[in-house]
């Protein structure tokens, strides 16, 4: 059914309508968190928050603010549902992941409320695709209780500088160790693999380091298998903020600029692998 023939009655039923001139602005950011099938959608007046979790140790959130959408209407305070993210991504890219300038897929996403499917209307070059993705009961996302007042150490880096390190991470190492400290080595990434140990050090006065706020020496280990999915977000982003709190929880916040130059955020939370005795 083409977009124009939707009757007013149909439109009135929807409790959430979000439209984009370029569906890539949504699909790209969702790819950054697509490491598990189940995605929890949470829509409020401010925009859309999509959450994906793994093993109760890793959580990724993508935030797409309401003003990214050309149309964003929500009739309730909060709308929540869960869909299969892989299916959603296949639907959003049904006309191919074309990067031809000037050619883009228009999207209108509608939701009728509890028990109804998430309906997508996609249009490119006069061809219309209608997708009805079944929704599930939304699970409650884990609260990592990551609070900015408990943050011990924080650095903001240009993503390019981390991309190289992450693309060369020694995957034979089980963990990635992050050391942050007000004195040398400032910010260090270490792996312990079959072929030896590797350390990447970032000096605090490097051009790549936009902000350096470390109050206390902290060394924590994180499972590489858990952090690997975050490289998808890193690849898309232009800046990344790395924070750890007093419990050693890691927060990675990525600033992602879309095709139209607008800014979205992707956030990863990861539990530490084990306690490492502080020196």
């Amino acid at each position: 059914m083409p977009l124009s023939t939707q009757s007013q009655a149909d439109i009135d039923q929807y409790i959430l309508i979000a439209s984009l001139d370029n569906a890539r602005n949504l699909s790209n950011i969702l790819k950054a968190i697509s490491f598990k099938d189940h995605a929890i959608f949470n829509a409020t007046q401010n925009g859309l928050k999509v959450t994906v979790e793994d093993s109760k140790c890793l959580q990724a959130n993508a935030f797409i603010q309401a003003d990214i959408f050309q149309e964003y209407t929500i009739k309730e305070d909060a709308v929540g549902f869960q869909v299969n993210l892989t299916v959603l991504l296949d639907c959003l890219t049904i006309f191919g992941a074309s990067t031809t300038p000037g050619v883009c897929t228009a999207l209108r996403m509608c939701y009728n409320g509890y028990g109804y499917p998430l309906t997508l209307f996609l249009e490119e070059g006069g061809v219309v695709t209608v997708c009805k993705i079944n929704t599930q009961e939304p699970e409650e996302p884990i609260d990592f209780d990551f609070c900015s007042t408990n943050v011990t150490n924080k650095v903001i880096l240009q993503s390019d500088s981390l991309k190289e390190a992450f693309s060369e991470l020694d995957m034979t190492s089980e963990v990635l160790q992050i050391t942050m400290s007000p004195s040398h080595p400032y910010f260090r990434l270490s792996t312990f693999g079959n072929s030896g140990n590797a350390h990447y050090d970032y000096p605090k006065d490097s051009d790549m380091m936009e902000l350096f706020q470390c109050t206390k020496l902290q060394t924590n280990r994180y499972k590489i298998s858990l952090l690997k999915p975050s490289t998808k977000a890193l690849a898309l982003s232009c800046k990344v903020s790395v924070r750890t709190d007093s419990r050693g929880f890691l927060s990675l916040q990525y600033l992602v600029r879309n095709d139209d130059g607008q800014i979205c955020f992707v956030e990863y939370y990861c539990c530490p692998d084990e306690e490492v005795g502080e020196e």
Binding site: P2, T86, D90, C91, I94, G96, T129, V130, C131, N134
Partner: protein, 284 residues
Amino acid sequence: MKFRAKIIDVGCLNHFTRVVNTVSKLSKACVLRLTCDHLFFVLSGKVASGGVSMWCELAQVNFFDEFQLEGVSADANEIFLELAPENLSRALKTAQNARSVKIKLTKKNCPCLTLAAELPSLSGVSRVVTHDIPVDVIPRRLWHDFREPQMPDYDVSIYLPPLKTMKSVVDRMKNLSNYLVMEANLNGEMNLKIETDLVSVTTHFKELGNPPWGEDGSQSTSASHRDSEFMAQTRLDIRKLQQFLTGQQVNPSRAMCNIVHNRILHLIFLHEDVSLQYFIPAVV
């Protein structure tokens, strides 16, 4: 029985290579039928190949500079060979820059199609690469298995949308489902649909146009009786359709399909002198 042919023109060679590549993507084994005027690559709908059949027809004058054929007898001046098109495709790959390519039916340890490519060389001494492709000569009593398929009495005939768009839609749908429903009407509208426990997806194409068939430009008998809104549909194994869209390298100037309601999808690609027909049976 005698067959020898020669290609000199590089354009013809490339064109022939693309056709063979397409055929090799679509079938592991097929029949090459040679007549004085035409070459045919034929795949007949065996259960083993999932019931799909293919009919690819080339006029020899458009490809070959020399073409000599003596069939099994004067009244049946044809040769039927069974071969793996992959072998022919691989042989042609090494002949990409050849000055000439000769193809000959030979008898070595077994019957072979011998392809000799004369490659350019700097020294002036010619270099020839020879490939022997084993073939089975099909006896005359079995020829009737490889006759041109009858144009089915279809319900709807319609031009296909741009193949690139159709391919990306089918590729995504294949990720989501094993089966696809293709439906079309005489109003130039075509839909591709899938439905699973997780999702239902429908892509609507319109203004595609319905090709005029027959001398009076009318659609076939069963089609002309139909209401133009009537959607003829067929449910397909999505991999078969994807394989065809992925494998084809003929970049047809005309692409169309005929649908026999709930029975078969008949795809027709026309490119200059090549016609490629592909039949995908409906699954219930």
